[in-house]
């Protein structure tokens, strides 16, 4: 295997930095050059070498002073849904073109060099507009290409994050997941990503889409690297986010390394019961994905896990339930974009109401407009009970079904996406087709459960397939541990797209 700096994991880069074999400035320059040389992928919306290098110098100063913390000096990039003082924040929308936040998101602060873990920000990553989409073709700026096949989508909405990690333009990235936006792009680009339990990471400074669903998480090439990032990202933020969980962040990575070392050569996952919901393995899933997922599950059996059948009967219903609830919350959240305090304002209008209407219609893209329309309709007088309230009732039944399943198993597994990545533009004018493809990620989002995507092999066209692991509340460590054992025994997560 090549030993180029960009082939190294977060953990390996941190070790090199700690040993002073490489400086953070050198790493930053290396990755910035790669980002520039691969600009055609469209993964980045903003870079600023002066800002990044200043952060790298600050990290190097902390290293020179003797500080040795697990992420110090390692570069990353943030999904452009996290607000940043030092870079523009667009949320992938024309509405926020040239917007500068007066503050950093909590996750950005916690990972950053000024007051956090010491990671250097390389820039902001492309995403679907306001995180609404499954292919990153809803970005108002440009679509992102999948590094495995540049004619295909990288998934969405954290498509820029996924493409950048898969192409090794960054060792790791942040993402956000409302209905699958970390797990699905991770699956479609062959990387590892985790959406923690709702409330585990602060939402402060995440441009809001659907507040009862939005959750931040790391995207990287391995479970261990995700664990390293999550340990710094998570934790209560009591003064800034009233829904952040009142639970301390754990040291996920040290646990992984300890159990990994202790278990090598034995059946490390003995006693782990993996539940397979019949509804995740039906006719709706393409044959290549099913075959790959079953292959990965056979590997889990070799590691000592047992597979049990479980049922999540409302899986299909999670699609309408999610696409009522998320747009309802979005229509409320996005009402803040009125062309007054920030964001786009139309050049010509007759009065205040006309200014609102023209500014919003010019600033929002088609999918965002569609979801605001759906959300406004389901919340409007006469329809609230039939749609919004009904969806919330089924949401509770979905959450209860998971708890029933978890009496029979420890982790639930299945595919992340029913197909591998599709061609750019293939579904761009068919919103319902896009919504249906979210079937395997929506139910756990509605319940608020943690879930992750782990590279499981390759399907049609040599495209990556992800295995989804869903845990019970607060069980991130268990998910990461199972994924880590799988990655110690397999090398799917180490495969790289050619030509980059």
């Amino acid at each position: 295997m090549s030993t180029d700096l960009h082939d190294l994991s977060v953990a390996q880069l941190a070790a090199k930095l700690a040993a002073r074999e490489v400086s953070s400035v050198e790493l930053t320059q290396h990755f910035l050059a790669r980002i520039e040389n691969n600009a055609g992928l469209g993964a980045f919306l903003a870079t600023d070498s002066e800002v990044s290098l200043a952060q790298a110098r600050a990290a190097d100063a902390r290293l020179a002073a003797g500080e040795r913390t697990p992420l110090l000096g390692v570069p990353l990039a943030h999904k452009d849904i996290f607000v940043t003082r030092d870079f523009p924040t667009t949320a992938g929308s024309k509405m926020l073109e040239n917007y500068r936040s007066p503050f950093d998101a909590t996750v950005v602060t916690r990972l950053g060099v000024a007051a956090g873990a010491g990671m250097v920000t390389l820039g902001k990553l492309n995403c679907d507009e306001f995180a609404m989409g499954s292919g990153n073709d809803n970005s108002a700026y440009r679509p992102v290409q999948n590094p495995w096949d540049t004619t295909r989508v990288p998934g969405g909405s954290s498509g820029g994050s996924a493409a950048a990690v898969a192409a090794r333009l960054v060792p790791a990235a942040t993402g956000t997941d409302t209905g699958g936006s970390i797990r699905q792009p991770a699956a479609l680009t062959g990387i590892t990503g985790i959406k923690p339990t709702y409330g585990r990471c602060s939402r402060y400074g995440m441009v809001a889409f659907a507040s009862s669903l939005d959750q931040a998480g790391p995207m990287a090439r391995s479970a261990l690297d995700c664990a390293l990032l999550l340990s710094s990202m998570a934790g209560p933020d009591p003064d800034r986010d009233s829904t952040s969980l009142d639970l301390p962040a754990l040291d996920y990575a040290t646990d992984l390394i300890a159990t990994g070392a202790a278990n090598t050569g034995t059946a490390p996952l003995k006693g782990l019961r993996i539940g397979l919901p019949a509804q995740f393995f039906g006719a709706g899933c393409s044959a290549d994905v099913l075959k790959t997922v079953r292959g990965a599950l056979a590997e889990f059996e070799k590691l000592g896990a047992t597979l049990v059948d479980v049922s999540l009967p409302l899986t299909e219903l999670s699609i309408p339930v999610y696409y009522v609830i998320a747009p309802a919350e979005a229509s409320s959240n996005l009402s803040r974009f009125d062309g007054v305090r920030y964001g786009h304002r139309a050049a010509h209008y007759t009065d205040l109401t006309d200014m609102y209407k023209k500014s919003r219609s010019e600033g929002f893209g088609d999918e965002v407009t569609r979801r605001i329309m759906i959300g406004t309709y389901v919340l409007s007088h006469g329809y609230y009970d039939a749609y919004y309230l009904k969806a919330q009732k089924i949401r509770r039944l979905i959450a209860e079904d998971f708890q029933k399943a978890f009496t029979q198993c420890d982790i639930i597994a299945g595919p992340v996406s029913p197909t591998v990545a599709w061609k750019i533009g293939e579904k761009s004018d068919d919103p319902v087709a896009n919504y249906l493809a979210d079937i395997y990620t929506l139910s756990s989002s509605l319940a608020g459960l943690p879930g992750m995507s782990v590279p499981a092999g390759f399907g049609e066209g040599g495209m990556p397939v992800g295995l989804q692991l869903i845990g019970n509340y607060f069980k991130e460590a268990q998910l990461l541990g199972a994924a880590h054992q799988f990655q110690l025994a397999t090398d799917w997560h180490l495969r790289q797209p050619t030509g980059i």
Partner: protein
């Protein structure tokens, strides 16, 4: 039930959006396609089920957290207004609403 173009106009107005006539037709078709999917919800018996507005309710973290009512932020008016479309003497400008 299917939406009509009057529904689309009413909802667009509520959402403060302006749709061009060709967009109205297109949006109507797409929303009707979408609501055909939503009607699947009718088949689920939800009698006596408490609506779940938020996962916090099942996480057992339902107590609304309060913080001390003290000033924690410094004045950042200039920075906050940097991205505003129109500002004068520290005020956001909007079209005249009262004659």
């Amino acid at each position: 039930m299917a939406l009509t173009s009057q529904d689309i106009a009413r909802v667009a107005n509520l959402a403060r959006l302006e749709l061009r006539p060709d967009e109205t037709e297109h949006t109507l078709r797409q929303l009707n396609g979408f609501f055909a999917l939503v009607e699947q919800m009718d088949a689920v018996n939800t009698e006596g089920v408490e609506p779940l507005a938020h996962p916090a309710a099942v996480l057992g973290q339902v107590a609304l957290r309060l913080r001390d009512d003290v000033v924690t932020e410094s004045n950042q008016r200039e920075e906050s207004q940097k991205s505003a479309p129109a500002v004068e003497r520290g005020l956001f400008l909007v079209p005249k609403v009262i004659e």
